[in-house]
């Protein structure tokens, strides 16, 4: 995005994506299952452009939170590669992991368990800058500034402990802490899901204002499609560890290609009692990620599933530029063998 102010840390220039993920994979072995594993993230590739907000949506167990942790190397990927601003992450000539974490921070869903209960919140916020080499009084000043930026008076709220704050206030503290190290990119893992609606709106407004002020790049993970539509520029739809659809926000919401995306969109309550949903868009729950279905992982719930869906993995089409819109579905792939696929 051209509106970005000059940042001396910007190595690759505006066209270089902030983060590129190539074929990320993370399987968690399950002990009592005889060598099976949860395929939490299974071959995921995408990029996050500078200054954009990338939304990630999907239901529980789709791997969206694992993906968040992989992006920060909070857990180590089994395979795949991360490139931050042109530099490969964690390999010799690239960017070391601690340097990555100076530039990428995260805000978690549970605002209470992600703060130290025995520390006044100003110390929690000052901790990051202090560890990264600031003097104690400098770090305290950063904490005061950041608490002010997120709308908490540092004199009133700074000395308080997490249990003395409401959910919305704690989440503001978490945002202040994430921003205290001066990151360029923030991963927001369901940051408003535990908040009441009136507070959720306040926090969303705050996040948007901070992004403008501090030239941030966001990855916004949520199960709430309305919130994702409001805040994101592009969106990535996940199902059982894989990306099923990826594209610009309006394209996904107005012309969804994948049957799963369509079902997700149709499952949103109407907000109008005169137009209630009469039939469930899809039936059943997401399957167990320990033994995902063969071929297309959505086929067990898909109304269009055919033979080919069981035998062949649908590929996410090639991404051509930031505006491309792709879906991993045999119906979208010419000559895939699906009766509804294009034949030309």
């Amino acid at each position: 995005m051209s509106s970005l102010a000059y940042d001396p840390r910007d190595r690759g220039g505006p066209q270089q994506p902030m983060l590129i993920a190539r074929d990320l994979r993370k399987h968690f072995p399950v002990k009592a299952s005889g060598g099976k594993s949860v395929q939490a993230v299974d071959g995921v590739s995408f990029s996050v452009g500078k200054g954009e907000t990338l939304g990630v949506v999907g239901e529980s167990g789709c791997g969206k939170s694992t993906l968040a942790r992989l992006m920060l190397h909070l857990i180590k990927p089994d395979a795949g590669e991360l490139v931050f601003d042109g530099d490969p992450v964690g390999v010799a000539p690239g960017i070391p992991i601690d340097a990555l974490r100076r530039q990428v921070q995260i805000v978690f869903q549970d605002s209470y368990s992600s703060l130290n209960p025995r520390m006044p919140v100003r110390d929690s916020v000052a901790f990051g800058p202090f560890v990264q080499g600031k003097r104690k009084d400098e770090a305290r000043q950063v904490a005061r500034d950041m608490l002010g930026k997120v709308g908490l008076d540092p004199e009133i709220f700074g000395p308080r402990y997490p249990h003395e704050l409401s959910g919305g206030q704690k989440q503001r503290v978490n945002i202040a802490r994430a921003l205290a190290t001066g990151p360029r990119m923030v991963i927001l893992d369901e940051p408003v899901s535990a908040l009441d609606k009136s507070i959720e709106a306040q926090v969303l407004n705050l996040l948007r204002a901070l992004k403008r002020q501090l030239n941030l790049t966001y990855v916004f993970i949520s199960h709430d499609l309305n919130v994702v539509r409001y805040i994101s520029d592009r969106v990535l739809v996940m199902y059982l560890g894989r990306i099923v659809e990826f594209g610009p926000i309006d394209a996904i919401f107005e012309r969804p290609l994948h049957p799963y995306t369509r079902a997700l969109l149709a499952s949103r309550p109407s907000m109008d009692p005169a137009r209630r949903i009469e039939l469930p868009p899809i039936s059943g729950d997401p399957p167990n990620p320990i033994e995902p279905p063969s071929g297309c992982r959505f086929r067990t719930r898909c109304p269009f599933a055919e033979m080919v869906c069981e035998t062949a993995d649908p590929m996410l089409g090639p991404l051509q530029g930031p505006q491309s819109h792709v879906a991993a579905c045999h119906m979208q792939e010419a000559h895939s063998g699906h009766s509804l696929a294009a034949s030309a």
Partner: protein
């Protein structure tokens, strides 16, 4: 006769450190076959109100005043033995988190069977047959096999269906649902809502459905009561409440709920946060956050007003229509005068 009637309900939780004024003069009625949604944010007293209908609040620390009647029976004055017949019999409840509401060491069939045997006195075999019928009624695939499953072997959606089956096992006249779809994924939530709506209609039950989600209320409610700081601030038919909210809190809640707003502008969020339930403001509890605040809002709890027949808003800024329309209204709010004297 209304199926359930709550009048002037006050609930306080008393501990050595503080007294929490959880519910402060709530009243409503539910007719047979009606779905009432109690809509509110955390701490608004919606779940406490729901629990009072079955007297599920801890007796030693709770002070309850007011009256709760279900099919003419006085729930708050009932002896404990009669209460055990009421719970799960006449009135049943579905909770938010099926994993904690179900017993992890018994199979689904055993748990449903236990309820049936307790209330009907039938034998194990008959109870198991009825449990199977119930699992089929809530559309659980391969129900016969699932009867012997433990809760942890089921997905979230199936567990919530089991909870519904258990609640319906003794054909309750009134079903209480406390955010039953909040913990579920979007595609599963809509399935459970449609199921509940269908069963409620087919069985002719009354239902009180507690939720914080306006969209869920739009999908299931006939009438809506909006709670804020332990009081019903607005109530009426669901279409009225969502399309023409009269109370500034309800209007603010609608504006704060993200659904297709323009991305170029901020959301019209309600400023501030809900009051401390240990120290409620003297007048209207919403006044400190209210854009329409007037001088009198600080001093007097607003009386219910009726802008349209059947539509109540407790707000000083709302104009009355003719007072003759007030009598036939459900739900109602009573006793704002009592609220003041009680403090």
């Amino acid at each position: 006769m209304p199926l359930a009637e709550v009048r002037d309900l006050y609930v306080r939780f008393v501990t050595r450190e503080a007294t929490v004024y959880a519910v402060n003069g709530v009243g409503f009625t539910v007719r047979p076959g009606e779905v009432l949604c109690i809509l509110g944010e955390s701490g608004s007293g919606k779940s406490v109100t729901l629990r009072a209908l079955m007297r599920l609040l801890p007796a030693r620390r709770t002070q309850i005043r007011g009256s709760v009647t279900v099919e003419g029976q006085n729930v708050l004055g009932m002896p404990r033995r009669a209460l055990r017949d009421l719970r799960g019999g006449l009135v049943a409840m579905i909770f938010q988190e099926p994993m904690t509401a179900l017993d992890p060491v018994y199979t689904v069939g055993q748990q449903i069977g236990e309820t049936i045997r307790r209330h009907t006195g039938c034998g194990r075999e008959a109870a198991r047959r009825r449990a199977l019928e119930l699992l089929e009624m809530v559309r659980i695939p391969s129900a016969a096999r699932r009867l012997d499953a433990y809760p942890h072997e089921l997905s979230g959606g199936l567990r919530q269906r089991v909870m519904i089956a258990m609640a319906l096992s003794c054909s309750p006249r009134l079903l209480l649902a406390d955010e039953p779809t909040t913990a579920l994924d979007a595609t599963v939530q809509v399935q459970v809502l449609i199921l509940l709506r269908r069963l409620q209609r087919e069985l002719g039950m009354g239902m009180i459905f507690v939720t914080h989600d306006l969209g869920v209320a739009a999908e299931i409610a006939d009438t809506v009561a909006v709670m804020y700081a332990g009081r019903i601030v607005e109530s009426g038919p669901v279409g009225q409440i969502l399309n023409a909210p009269a109370h500034p809190y309800t209007a603010g809640l609608l504006a704060s709920t993200v659904h297709g707003q323009s991305r170029d502008r901020d959301i019209d969020a309600i400023a501030g946060s809900p009051p401390d339930m240990r120290r409620l403001p003297q007048g209207c509890s919403f006044a400190p956050r209210c854009p329409l605040r007037m001088a009198e809002c600080r001093f007097a709890v607003p009386e219910p007003r009726f802008p349209v027949r059947g539509h109540m808003a407790a707000c000083h800024a709302v104009a009355h229509s003719s007072p003759a329309t007030q009598a036939a209204v459900t739900p109602t709010v009573a006793g704002s005068r009592a609220t003041i004297s009680a403090r």
